[in-house]
């Protein structure tokens, strides 16, 4: 019989080379990889899944988005396969795998590196202003003040894109109220958003805005790796809270900064008195491949995922690109890869994190996620108060 043909959709990104290579070198089936740009892809996959012409495998972000498809029975349950092959299942960090799991059933396999959010900073700026990177909230406030007077934007923030705001929210809420605050939201507890910690965190966020921590232009700055990395690299901004991919962006747009070892990174500062562990991290756990329920060759698709995705060659490919694959036991491999100091640091950070909070907008339902981003935007514009924010969010499902 003929080889089955499998269709795989994914988005445009540096890791595409690894994926296409995995597809090309796979013998039992012919796998066609189709690559779409990030934003259009969301629309495309929705229509395709919703109206019955889905690809066999598709990339997704796990969380609430995937859950919708799962609820609509568009996605194949991978639990039996993972349970049948424990070695496969155990290859991955469990907290990452959980992002694509609902009610104890697994629906996705991680396909790229983890993307923890870190605080990047420009060492040269700190040197010039005789400052040290802030480890605590108070230090952070004083550093903001000092940088402000020095005419440097303390924190670069692509506020127009909205989702970078969320990183601040996630960390502040985590540090002030602990992971349980958001977990309550996810669990659908009543008035979960009214949590005092959340309101406090938001008040602090507005304080930062007032203090000029994000400069005057954050609301018209779009997040674009080129822009932010250039701002950071050139020292127009001193710090940026961003996913680990920003390292790559700086490498590309401001290579000298890396070469001169002027790019620094650290965990989000601790907030004394808060409920959250200062080792907690937030960010994207990973992206995932899922198998469409309507696939004509579900078994073959699963087989492909098992054999090729996060296979040693795949992992190696990712590491070569500066990725930190969510698989266990690769610290050594990382330390010999490119940009080893950064990647091993990140790997350790994730490994030692008591809680790895997957991005809220991915976890929540699309509806709630959208409301969240809009309200955050308005919070930072000071169009609403923290109380109003919580009230608005409380209305979402």
């Amino acid at each position: 019989s003929k080889k089955p043909t499998l269709l795989l959709w994914t988005i445009q990104r540096t890791e595409n080379s690894v994926e296409t290579k995995a597809a090309k070198t796979y013998k039992p089936a012919s796998v066609k990889v189709q690559i779409f740009a990030n934003d259009p892809y969301k629309q495309k996959i929705k229509v395709a899944l919703g109206s019955g012409k889905p690809p066999d495998m598709f990339m997704n972000w796990g969380g609430g988005g995937l859950k919708q498809y799962v609820d609509a029975r568009k996605v194949l349950d991978l639990t039996p396969f993972l349970n049948a092959d424990k070695a496969w299942k155990n290859r991955f960090f469990n907290n990452v795998l959980q992002t694509a799991a609902f009610k104890g059933k697994y629906y996705g396999i991680p396909n790229v590196g983890m993307q923890p959010v870190l605080l990047f900073y420009n060492k040269a700026v700190f040197r010039q202003n005789n400052l040290t990177p802030p480890k605590t909230w108070d230090e952070l406030l004083s550093v903001v003040k000092a940088l402000k007077t020095a005419g440097v934007t303390p924190f670069i923030l692509g506020g127009q894109s909205k989702w970078p705001d969320l990183m601040w929210e996630e960390y502040l809420v985590d540090r002030v109220a602990g992971p349980q605050a958001f977990n309550a939201v996810v669990a659908g507890k009543k008035n979960a958003w009214m949590d005092k910690g959340i309101i406090k965190a938001n008040t602090m966020l507005q304080q930062l805005v007032d203090a000029g921590a994000f400069g005057n232009n954050f609301s018209s700055t779009t997040y674009d790796g080129t822009v932010t990395a250039t701002l950071l690299g050139t020292g127009k901004g001193a710090m940026e809270l961003m996913g680990n991919w920003e390292y790559g962006a700086v490498l590309q747009n401001s290579p000298d900064t890396i070469k001169n070892h002027d790019l620094g990174w650290m965990p989000f500062p601790a907030i004394p008195g808060g409920k959250g562990n200062s080792k907690n991290i937030a960010g994207n756990t990973s992206n995932f491949y899922s198998v469409a329920a309507k696939s004509k060759h579900p078994a073959a698709a699963v087989q492909f995922l098992k054999k090729q995705v996060m296979s040693p060659a795949y992992v190696k490919g990712l590491i070569a690109l500066g990725n930190i694959p969510p698989v266990k036991g690769i610290a050594k491999q990382l330390s010999t890869g490119a940009n080893a100091d950064f990647t091993t640091w990140c790997y350790k950070l994730v490994q030692s994190a008591p809680n790895y909070q997957h991005s809220w907008d991915q976890v929540l339902s699309p509806d709630a996620a959208n409301t969240l981003l809009t309200n955050l935007d308005r919070l930072l514009l000071k169009q609403i108060t923290p109380q109003q924010f919580s009230a608005n969010m409380n209305k979402t499902k």
Partner: protein, 298 residues
């Protein structure tokens, strides 16, 4: 020479191919949209009947109300900005001088770009950190000059109007250019002999004789800005805050980002109805629908 001498008239069959294509690919989907507006539908699962739930939400959703208001605002502003400019430029380049035809070719260029390209360009030009505008104000030491054009809720809408106009004025200019060229030269000659200067020729000859073109272009601008989406979506995404969240964007966000296609369908139905009413009104009021020429009997 005479109006109303169409007698039997052309066979309506000629309209069939266009009507057919339009019906299959636009009308049928629109009917489906109307049906969907009475369902719960996330775009993925099968729709379930919702009665008037979406509609009652429409009546109460303050965000949508705000979006309606913004849509009206952007509609009026677009018209006010585009119509005079396109009209003047179109008439200007309809002149026969060589330099005018060169200008016409240059003016035409913005029309060629996709919304994405224009969005990228203007976002970059207006970028508060590296943009051309920021660069200029910095060089000229005009630090008082606002640079956060798109981030300022008070300015963002106006900027969008400007960028939309930048893209579409060429098209309307083209309409006016073709319209102005259609006006018989001899009428201008007569007016010139009668002592009409440039301004009066424009006011008394060009304007009245372009009336139908003005209606055409206005319908396109007004209705177009009611449904306008791409540029705003890419440039501001509706922000900052709700500052540019016009109705089509609200519809999109509800439908695709919040996965509430039912509600989005309701908004679409409102949009289509409003736009249709608007264009019918315009066409009724201006007598456009009687299909009379303004040139007859010169």
């Amino acid at each position: 020479m005479r109006a109303g001498s169409k007698r039997k008239g052309a066979s309506p069959l000629l309209a069939l191919p266009a009507l057919g294509l339009f019906a299959i690919f636009a009308l049928v989907p629109m009917i489906v949209v109307v049906v969907l507006s009475f369902t719960y539908y996330n775009g993925i699962s099968s729709p379930t009947f919702a009665g008037f739930a979406n509609w009652s939400r429409f009546l109460h959703d303050s965000t949508t109300h705000h979006a309606i208001w913004l849509s009206l605002e952007i509609m009026v502003l677009s018209w006010l900005f585009q119509t005079p400019l396109a009209l003047l430029l179109g008439v200007f380049v309809s002149g026969r001088q060589r330099y005018r035809s060169v200008l016409a070719a240059a003016y035409f260029v913005p029309l060629l770009f996709s919304a994405a390209a224009i969005a990228i360009t203007w976002r970059n030009l207006l970028d508060p950190n590296f943009g051309l505008l920021a660069n200029l104000t910095h060089r000229l030491h005009m630090s008082w000059f606002p640079t956060s054009w798109l981030g300022n809720p008070g300015l963002a809408l106006y900027m969008m109007v400007f960028i939309i106009s930048w893209q579409f004025i060429p098209f309307h200019m083209l309409l006016y250019q073709a319209g102005a060229r259609q006006i018989p030269r001899s009428i201008y000659e007569a007016a010139e002999i009668d002592g009409a200067g440039r301004v009066r020729q424009f006011l008394h000859i060009t304007l009245p004789l372009l009336r139908n073109t003005i209606v055409t272009s206005s319908v396109l601008i007004l209705v177009g800005s009611l449904t306008y989406f791409d540029l705003v979506f890419i440039v501001t995404g509706g922000g900052p805050g709700f500052a540019t969240r016009i109705l089509p964007l609200d519809m999109y966000i509800n439908g695709f980002e919040r996965s509430d296609m039912g509600y989005a369908s309701a908004i679409s139905v409102v949009l289509v109805t409003a736009a249709l009413a608007l264009s019918l009104l315009l066409i009724r009021v201006t007598g456009f629908g009687r299909f009379r020429s303004t040139h007859e009997g010169a």
